[in-house]
């Protein structure tokens, strides 16, 4: 029966795994800039744009939808949230350009942008002024 032959690991499996691992490694090597600005987006609207280098001491921002964001000199993170799964807080600190964290129940995104960083998706060099 044909299906019996599927139970051993076959060459195709190894090839697939190797190719995908290589792709993952390549992606991890893409240089990502330091965090310069952070954006907090609630329900599609950019509510805060923060220049991270101007942050003197870490402070917390309480948003109206039950989310608290912790802003530091070179990082931003979800500090606590009233959502039931807490994945947003679990994401941890965002420290490099392009890092993103989402709280889906509260429809909040925090993004980090770097100055003059290479935007890997569109292939453009994004400047500080880009919205």
């Amino acid at each position: 029966m044909r299906n019996d032959r599927k139970r051993r690991i076959r060459p195709g499996d190894i090839i697939i795994t190797a190719v995908l691992l290589a792709a993952a490694l390549l992606l991890m090597l893409i240089p990502r800039g330091k965090a310069c600005t952070a954006e907090i987006i609630c329900s599609g609207e950019t509510v805060y744009t923060i220049e991270l280098s101007s942050v003197k001491e870490p402070y917390k921002l309480d948003l109206e939808n039950g989310v608290t964001v912790l802003v530091e000199r070179s990082a931003i993170s979800f500090f606590c949230s009233d959502c039931e799964n807490g994945l947003c807080v679990n994401t941890g600190r965002l420290t490099r350009a392009g890092d993103t964290a989402v709280c889906i129940p509260n429809e909040t995104i925090i993004k980090v942008r770097g100055e003059g960083s290479f935007n890997a998706i569109t292939g453009k060099i994004s400047t500080y002024h880009e919205a």
């Binding site: 993952a24 989402v102 889906i104």
Partner: protein, 175 residues
């Protein structure tokens, strides 16, 4: 043939229940562990892959739909939509790979890896749609690596289990 269809339908229902049970088990086991957002071991994919291979595409999609319905009931519309997106992409990928595997170059391990990665990608795309903003490549390595690891695990599980199931006569479609 009518008889066979009924058997397939009933088996799908039982498998869907088993898939839900596995999801719950997974939740319990990984409750405190530091998993990245949205990445799960995906044990229930063993069942979905078996369904795709032994029962056919529509029934496998049915199981994916039941899983999404469950996510919807437990965690809300967003979770349901995300689960559905990941599930559909992943099942279609499984089906395509099974069809392409005529020369048997790949076991369930490879199919599982690719469908796990596709599942994660689908979920990420759905989450991006809901959030209204692209959640970038910064997440792609996590997506790939976790897809590979958990895909291999579930694939090897199915590799091991399949012969026993076939002996019991449950392999109707035999893709």
């Amino acid at each position: 043939m009518k008889h066979k269809r009924l058997v397939r339908l009933t088996l799908t229902a039982v498998l869907a229940a088993a898939a839900l049970a596995l999801s719950l088990l997974e939740r319990t086991l990984t409750a405190g562990l530091p998993f990245p957002p949205g990445i799960k071991p995906g044990l229930s994919n063993v069942i979905v892959m078996f369904a795709c291979s032994a029962l056919g595409l529509p029934f496998a999609l049915g199981i994916a739909a039941v899983k999404s319905g469950f996510a919807f009931l437990i965690s809300g519309a967003a979770a349901g939509f995300i689960s559905l997106a990941g599930g559909i992409f992943s099942v279609v990928m499984m089906f395509v790979l099974l069809k392409l595997n005529k020369k048997n170059r790949m076991s369930y391990a490879g199919i599982s890896v690719l469908s796990a990665v596709t599942h994660n990608a689908g979920q990420l795309a759905a989450a991006s749609l809901i959030a209204g903003s692209a959640l970038y490549l910064s997440y792609a390595p996590v997506l790939l690596v976790s897809g590979i690891i958990f895909g291999l695990i579930t694939g090897v599980i199915l590799n091991s289990v399949m012969p026993a199931v076939i002996k019991k006569g449950f392999d109707f479609f035999n893709i």
